[in-house]
């Protein structure tokens, strides 16, 4: 067990390092001159451009730029924003909690709603409840979040005035964006749980349990669901990455603070140090979540443990 964990930790570290290289190269390959985006091109002089290039270090060869970037990152220095000289690390740390809260809340909604509907729909296969759950699932998957977000605002904020349409203070502002993002995840989970439940229900051990006279509820929720949940858990790990990416859109729609907003603004302004910092942090978060999922998966399913 310890060995497995340390191997997984080591590969995670490699992934993080790889993402560091990737982040650097992708940003380097982006079209457009970051220096030109800092100035008004109709009035700038060549001297100013040259001095800005030197300041940013973009006039040096690529490997030198990368070397100095990595050594700085290792010291916790992610540089300063090109736009307003704000240090990148504190900026990310300010915005991270809001995004984490949103990701966690929407993950929770996706899991609870998804599993519940998935089980119901498997139990009542081909009845109206199943059809409804499948439609809801399809709806969740196919609706773009910017649209469902606006719809939620229209209904629950503007018309009913239950929740605020914007902001990031207090739990009330979290509800609508978490639902908007959670529906997407729930859509995926419903389908997955339904399918694996249907598979498990037809397994011989379920027949045995029923033959022994175990209560149907117990059969479903204790025995069938536990087995059906394993693929869903993996799914949630992958999903957390999707949801993290989804925050870019949903944070904009709901005017929330968060690193999704930070990176979309930074990309627009070609604020490279900020882009690099946020992408790198997102990579780390994704790796950590998947590490946790991976390890818990091994704990829940004895077969995985035994196979090693």
């Amino acid at each position: 067990m310890l060995k497995t964990i340390s191997i997984r930790l080591f590969t995670s570290l490699l992934v993080i390092l790889g993402s560091l290289v990737l982040v650097f190269v992708i940003v380097y390959l982006l079209p457009g001159d970051p220096v030109l985006s800092m100035v008004d091109p109709s009035t700038v002089t060549p001297e100013v451009l040259a001095s800005l290039r030197a300041q940013l270090g973009v006039d040096r060869p690529l490997y030198e730029q990368f070397g100095s970037y990595v050594s700085k990152v290792l010291q916790g220095d992610f540089g300063k924003s090109i736009v307003n000289d704000e240090p990148v690390l504190p900026k990310i740390i300010t915005h991270l909690p809001a995004t984490l809260a949103l990701t966690a809340a929407s993950c929770f909604i996706a899991a609870v709603v998804g599993i519940w509907l998935g089980v119901l729909s498997a139990i009542h296969r081909d009845r109206w409840i199943d059809i409804t759950a499948r439609v809801v699932g399809l709806f969740g998957i196919s609706m773009p979040t910017f649209w469902s977000g606006i719809l939620l605002i229209l209904i629950f904020s503007i018309t009913l005035d239950w929740f605020p349409a914007m902001g990031s203070e207090g739990w009330k502002t979290l509800v609508l964006p978490a639902v908007g993002l959670g529906i997407v995840g729930a859509g995926f989970v419903v389908r997955l749980v339904r399918n694996s439940m249907l598979e498990v229900i037809n397994e011989p051990f379920i027949v045995t349990l029923r033959a022994k006279g175990v209560a149907e509820k117990l059969v479903m929720y204790r025995h069938a669901l536990r087995n059906a949940l394993i693929p869903a858990l993996t799914m949630i790990g992958v999903l957390s990455g999707e949801l993290l990416a989804g925050t870019v859109v949903i944070e904009t729609v709901f005017s929330r603070q968060g690193i999704g907003r930070v990176i979309s603004d930074a990309l627009m302004a070609k604020d490279l140090p900020v882009v690099q910092g946020v992408v790198f942090f997102s990579a780390i978060m994704y790796v950590i979540i998947n590490l946790i999922v991976d390890l818990s998966y091994r704990m829940i399913d004895p077969r995985v443990r035994r196979s090693q």
């Binding site: 001159d33 008004d40 109709s42 605002i153 904020s157 349409a165 902001g167 929330r256 603070q257």
Partner: protein, 556 residues
Amino acid sequence: MLKKRNNWKTIIALTTALVLVLSGCAGTNKASNTDKNASPAATTDAATAAAPAKGGELTYALATSPDTLDPHRSGLAVAVRAIRTIHDNLVAQLPDGTIQPWLATEWAVSEDGLSYTFKLRQDVKFHDGTPFNAEAVKYNYDRILNPETKAANSAALIRPYKSADVIDEFTVKLNLETPSNAFLGNLSQALVSIVSPTAAQKYGDQLGKNPVGTGPFKFVSWEENSQITVERNPDYKWAPPLVANQEAPYLDKVIFKIAPEEATRIGSVQSGQVLAGETIPPQNILALEKDEKLQLFKSNTQGLPYTLFINENKAPWNELKARQALQAAIDVDAIVKTLYLGTYDRAWSPLTPGTFGYDKSLEGGVKPDLDKANALLDELGYVKGADGVRAKDGKKLTLHYVDGSPNREKRNDIAAIIQQQLKQIGIAVEVEITKDVRTVVYENGNYDIYGNSQVNSDPEALRSFYHSGAVSVGANQNLPGFKNAEVDGWIDQGLIEKDETKRQELYAKVQQAIIEQAVIIPIYVFPYTIAASKTVKDIKFDSLAYPLFNDAFIQK
């Protein structure tokens, strides 16, 4: 100004009298007689205009995140909305273009136009207690020139400022490299407003997160991507003549909420979650006009309207006839009416109405005329092929139309309409929507048509777009690739001409030449539009359409 203030007092007095009479508590016969004797106009005023209510927080939804609140470093209009509340300028420009005192009480310009001597107000203090004086003015303008400040638009605005001499505590002389008629107007712009020298030294490059000025509101906090809060400066008594209230503002606070999503922003105004929201798109303007709880504040921006520049460095657009064909085939009225539903004004000139020197005679001059457009292209030897596209020597007549993304003010839709309109005369328009306008347009010069606009206080703004010496694209051309010695001369003369009438004539000639030679297709004048609850009163605008909250109050 004094007169205006007296008006206010009269109105307040009359309102009070009216209320007393109507409520019947202290109303004697004599009082009601006086009331009857009051002029009808004043009575109506008193009945409709409520006295400003003190206090309250105005929530105001902005369309994007400001980059910085350091006026000298900002390049975004949205930042100026907040910057304007915190900072003041030496002078103010009124909507009629005249320059009026603000932090400076009077000024004199030397005979050669190379030095401006300002007398400053002596009772002004920055929010951090630093006294405002000649040293502070010198520090500010030198700060903009200093490359370490990384000044953005302010560096262009302060040009040709060279140095400042402190004559005495409240007299400062600004020295210029060359004379410039645009200088005073530029000094009125929020981007060259005055920051506290103490704060600038203390915070260095972080001043943008800790702005300190002399303005009607003090900076409180900026939660990034969420909100910016400013609070009343109780000591304020140096308001510009743009507003009626010369004292501290009525509002306790203005809270700028950052709400980039249009539907959220407008929905929040409709539901009353915020009291005001900016940048309202045309289709919503029509809907909001019918909403009984809401009102719209609108102010047309000044400077250069949204203009399509035809790149003369690309054949065949170097030919006057080819450009005139575009001018005759593009139906600007149809575009503006279709897309903006009558909420935007159509532009006729390289300048917007209201900008000094605007030539009204150009209005109605260019009319859509497909026959003329076709004839011009026939003359150039372009013949329509089987696919309806014209060609000459085997080369098809195409037009590379570049526009930026995101689709700001529906500009991408203009491209689509023009594509249809030019198809009628056999020009195949290839529309390229790019996120990277800087590379495509400004670095590589790879466009036949590209559109842009600029908010500015003086017709000198024409220089960076039409003077042959202004190189903004690649290494050797301005945006339209326009080179004309006569126009260069008029623009140069316009910068130094002292006689206002003559200056006006010079700019009229520039505008006429640009339209006659079909250098551009002016499209629309952008109106800055705010939707607000009806309880919000008296948001005013400066001459560049930035909101002023000195007079604003919330009716209880």
